[in-house]
């Protein structure tokens, strides 16, 4: 009897590994193929051999001739850093207000943050586009950043962390005569490093991969990586000759995030899953 049970549980473990291996390979394959193609020699791009050999950076140099990769990378980095930083700051201040005080319009304010979930981009895009036009921010990087400076998700996640933050620490600090501003930076923030770091990663990845808003604002300049890639794809067409450089640009558009992922894998996964669960 025990032998049967043991046998069954072994089988379950083996089949579990098999399922996950198949799934993992299926998920990773397109990413692998992207980089594999980009690293082939330009004359081998259409080859279907599973390993890109001999390796070459030829597609990357050709891509650099065709597309201004450097400035696209710079712009995208700038936009996602500034967006994430702004969202972090506004989110921290708002979450602090919700956690450290009880105030009259608290519930209403909080509901306004939660409510943004229900407003899809497509509903607000037109008036926002018109406002950016009036402000003269169309086709500027500022036009991409400014409307995204507040992340409701950031407020909600930080509030949940702050709710479990020991109130005694905040009270003790105010008793000592410190202002609420000083309390925030000397007591709250140092004790909130881990969630703040997780949120920063989440916001960085999200704003790096954001497509809709930049596509709307930068219609003429295409000055960010994904937009540059899209206009490259549309202008060169997908007639076969440009697969190498296209894969090179696409690879570069994902590379910073993947490097971050390799270093901070566990934090990134848990930041995404936890943000989803709450």
């Amino acid at each position: 009897m025990d032998a049967v049970v043991a046998e069954r549980s072994r089988w379950r473990t083996v089949s579990g590994h098999a399922v996950l291996t198949v799934l993992g390979v299926l998920c990773l394959f397109p990413i692998y193929w992207l980089y594999a193609t980009s690293l082939r020699r330009p004359e081998d791009v259409l080859s279907l051999s599973p390993l890109p050999w001999p390796l070459s950076l030829g597609n990357y140099t050709e891509a650099a001739h065709l597309v201004d990769v450097g400035s696209l990378l710079f712009n995208t980095t700038l936009v996602s850093l500034l967006t994430a930083l702004g969202q972090l700051l506004t989110g921290l201040l708002a979450a602090y207000a919700f956690a450290a005080w009880r105030f009259r319009l608290q519930r209403l304010c909080y509901l306004l943050f939660v409510g943004t979930w229900l407003v899809p981009f497509q509903v607000t895009m037109l008036p926002n586009y018109v406002l950016l036009l009036q402000l003269g921010l169309l086709n500027t990087l500022a036009g991409v950043i400014v409307p995204n400076l507040c992340s409701a998700l950031g407020v909600i996640l930080l509030r949940q962390h702050l709710d479990s933050f020991p109130k005694e620490l905040i009270e003790a600090s105010t008793m000592d005569g410190r202002s609420s501003w000083a309390t925030l930076w000397t007591v709250v923030v140092p004790n909130l490093r881990a969630p703040l770091a997780a949120l920063t990663i989440l916001l960085l990845v999200t704003s790096w991969n954001e497509y809709f808003w930049p596509a709307l604002v930068l219609q003429r300049t295409n000055a960010m990586l994904q937009l540059g890639l899209r206009s490259f794809m549309i202008s060169e067409g997908t007639q076969g000759t440009y697969w190498g450089p296209l894969m090179a640009v696409a690879g570069l558009a994902c590379l910073p995030i993947f490097v971050l992922y390799l270093v901070l894998r566990r934090h990134i996964v848990s930041a995404f899953v936890r943000s989803g669960l709450k």
Binding site: G16, T37, L46, L93, C109, T124, L126, T238, V269
Partner: protein, 312 residues
């Protein structure tokens, strides 16, 4: 806004004289000041446009600052209900959501149940592998899938020995978009299910095992009911994320085509506003989308709260 705000929730003994009005205002101000930047951004970039969208939906306007918007009453809404493109796009949106459910609910649950035993380092490696597609920039994904599915030299057609134009053929384009979106979201959903399963108290299943329940019975009567809030969340996520993830793929790969085969509601809204420059039609469709989203979310949140009682 500040005028009517009373003193903060200090429980003052009634006999003590209340502090003067300016003093009370000063004491009530800090939380509002801290919440102000985020709230202002939210009002300017989410709620103001929501209201304006509602207003614009009663006007006819071609987006040109020089031409005036003329009020047309409910005409835009009436047009929405008569345009065949609208009905077709709603249907395609439902197809997208329905087509995504296997990727975001069915497969993740199956995988979660089959692989509960795998723990430790191996599990972390698998999780890292399946999660990666969520981090791929959508346009990069569009590029690599164009290449994989290329009718001439693409890997899939070479393997199958066919030359199907998966992404630009009216039959295949919509399923292809669904599969690509599903590929992005699958790993994330697997991890959400895994987290949901890990939260289920082991005592229930062990008690059932001692009572002689079979694996299938445990899954059917204990695990799945306890997992139901997670499942409701995944459905909600599918509905909300379908808008966000299909759009860049459609905009880069098919532009809604071929002959409208991939034009779902989200793309149609974009098309009306920024290709046809029909602000009235775009905004009225947007308002309807907002209402439907709200109803769906309400039902699902209500459902998940109802189901959440299971664990108590």
């Amino acid at each position: 806004m500040f005028v009517e705000v009373p003193a903060p929730a200090v429980v003052a003994p009634p006999r003590v004289a209340r502090p003067s009005v300016p003093r009370r205002l000063l004491r009530a101000a800090p939380p509002y000041l801290y919440v102000a930047p985020a709230l202002a951004l939210l009002v300017i970039w989410t709620y103001r446009p929501l209201v304006q969208t509602a207003q614009l939906s009663f006007y006819s306007w071609n987006l040109l600052p020089t031409s005036p918007a003329t009020p047309v009453g409910l005409d835009n809404y009436a047009r929405l209900f008569t345009l065949p493109a609208v009905g077709a796009s709603v249907w395609r949106t439902l197809e997208v959501i329905g087509g995504l459910l296997p990727f975001t609910v069915v497969i993740p649950v199956l995988v979660g149940l089959l692989t509960q035993r795998i723990q430790g380092r191996a599990r972390a490696v698998y999780q890292a592998m399946v999660f990666a597609p969520l981090l791929v920039a959508p346009v990069a994904s569009a590029t690599v899938w164009e290449w994989l599915l290329d009718p001439g030299a693409g890997l899939l057609n070479k393997i199958l020995g066919t030359s199907t134009n998966w992404l630009h053929d009216a039959t295949w384009a919509q399923p292809a978009i669904i599969v690509i979106t599903g590929w992005h979201l699958l790993g994330f959903a697997v991890l959400v299910v895994a987290a949901g399963l890990a939260n289920i108290n082991r005592d229930y299943t062990e008690a059932a095992l001692i009572d002689g329940a079979s694996r299938g019975q445990i899954t059917r009567w204990i695990t799945l009911p306890l997992l139901s809030p997670t499942l409701v969340f995944l459905v909600l996520m599918t509905v909300l994320l379908s808008a966000q993830w299909t759009f860049p793929l459609i905009d880069t790969i098919t532009q809604g085509g071929p002959s409208g085969a991939t034009t779902n509601v989200y793309y149609l809204l974009w098309d009306y506003s920024f290709h046809s420059f029909d602000a009235g039609l775009g905004t009225s469709a947007g308002i309807l989308l907002f209402v439907v989203f709200g109803l769906v979310a309400l039902v699902l949140v209500w459902l998940s709260e109802k189901l959440a009682f299971h664990d108590n």
